[in-house]
């Protein structure tokens, strides 16, 4: 059923049902991992659509009861509203299912790529060098389904005037099962990079050079001192 709908909708809506590209040169990365939304995320979305449908049925029922008290009939209006919402709910169910199938989160050694969206396809690529913080959010409904949202943030902020639903300085991994594990993995990648979120690209190289040079220089001084001492003692 879903496959049939996909075959039908893919050419019509120009849906890209393939997996997104792994960033070039990262095909064999150590941390390469593809994370998908949990099936429970789909259940949660279906439940929300069901709530919407129940709300709509209540409105229709109220409308029908109300029409008993007016002298003229409104059956055609009821039918129109019912048809409109019926189609809308059908579309919501299909889009929910497609959205689940078209959600991709790809982690490589250096970047995170998130792709989602049915009507408008969106893809964001964030390099770990720019990541400021990683956080997990879980609402009550998500807790009920034992899934959570992982939010990876880069520097900058502000609201998006063009599209308030899309926060641009964030990569959001919605509806994943093992958010903690993935967060820890991202944090361990961040630790390996040892780069401040907004540092210059070669910050880390200098940092490492200094870290390596510092104890060696002190040790060399001590070594020179002991060598002199030795000469002093052995020459006498």
């Amino acid at each position: 059923m879903v496959e049939f709908l996909k075959q039908l909708a893919a050419p019509l809506l120009h849906l890209d049902l393939n997996a997104p590209h792994v960033p070039a040169g990262h095909e064999n990365d150590r941390y390469l991992r593809v994370v998908r939304a949990s099936p429970r995320f789909l259940s949660m979305r279906y439940m929300l659509v069901a709530f919407y449908a129940i709300g709509f049925l209540l409105i229709i029922a109220a409308e029908m009861i109300g029409s008993l008290f007016v002298p003229f009939t409104l059956w055609w209006l009821t039918l129109l509203i019912a048809m409109f919402f019926g189609l809308k709910i059908l579309a919501m169910i299909i889009v929910t299912r497609f959205d689940y199938d078209m959600r991709w989160y790809i982690i490589t050694d250096t970047s995170l790529r998130v792709r989602y969206g049915v009507w408008a396809l969106r893809e964001i690529t964030v390099s770990f060098g720019n990541v400021q913080n990683v956080r997990i959010a879980q609402g009550p409904v998500e807790r009920l389904f034992d899934i959570s949202t992982l939010i990876v943030e880069t520097a900058g902020g502000g609201s998006n005037e063009k599209n308030p639903h899309v926060k641009s300085h964030q990569a959001i991994l919605r509806g994943i099962e093992n958010a903690k594990e993935i967060r820890d993995m991202i944090i361990s990648i961040l630790h390996q990079q040892k780069r401040a979120g907004l540092g210059d690209p070669d910050d880390d190289i200098e940092h490492h050079a200094k870290a390596a040079a510092l104890p060696i220089r002190e040790l060399d001084a001590i070594a020179a001192e002991t060598q002199k001492l030795r000469q002093l003692f052995t020459s006498k």
Binding site: A120, E123, G157, I216
Partner: protein, 180 residues
């Protein structure tokens, strides 16, 4: 569980990116579509969009990208590749129909709207990969801590060995002196 087959990106054809100057001609039908959606305001929406399409210029150079457009109010923004933080690719249904896409580039600024927006291009994936290879955090060589650490350790070990030898020699000579 869902399938996880991956697709690999094509290699970036740099000449193609550097040669990119104008948006695809399919951007105009897209703008007409946008303007049609505004029904009665069509001429007022269409006019600025038409001029935007007409004057839109992209310049990719070795260090950065500049986007300019406008007739009465000219805008030109320049961003260096190494300041890019996030790359967004978005394709709404109209863009997908026309086979074009939008690449939005963000730097670490306060605004959440994209600093540079490359609209109406056909090779949006190529542009994305091109920028991805140059964005902040990609060019920087990640120094593997293990190798530097090991190299540093070897060096430190040798110096410590020398110090130990010296101290040992001093002790021996002191012992001899106290004996004699």
């Amino acid at each position: 569980m869902q399938s996880t087959q991956l697709t690999h990106a094509e290699p970036v054809r740099e000449e193609e990116i550097f040669a990119l100057r104008r948006p695809d001609s399919n951007l105009l039908p897209l703008y007409i579509m946008y303007a049609l959606l505004s029904t009665v305001a069509f001429p007022f929406v269409m006019l600025p969009l038409y001029f935007k399409y007409k004057t839109l210029r992209y310049t990719f150079d070795q260090e950065g990208i500049s986007v300019s457009y406008g007739i009465l109010w000219r805008r030109e923004s320049y961003t260096t590749y190494s300041r890019i933080q996030d790359i967004h690719v978005s394709r709404n249904i109209g863009e997908r129909w026309l086979g074009i896409g939008t690449v939005d580039i963000q730097t670490a600024s306060g605004a959440s709207t994209a600093e540079v927006s490359i609209v109406g291009i056909r090779n949006y994936e190529q542009v994305r990969d091109f920028l991805y290879g140059r964005m902040r955090g990609m060019n920087a060589k990640t120094v593997p801590t293990a190798t530097t650490g090991e190299k540093g350790n070897e060096e430190a070990k040798a110096v410590l060995q020398a110090i130990h030898n010296d101290l040992k020699a001093i002790r021996i000579s002191l012992e001899r002196k106290s004996d004699g």
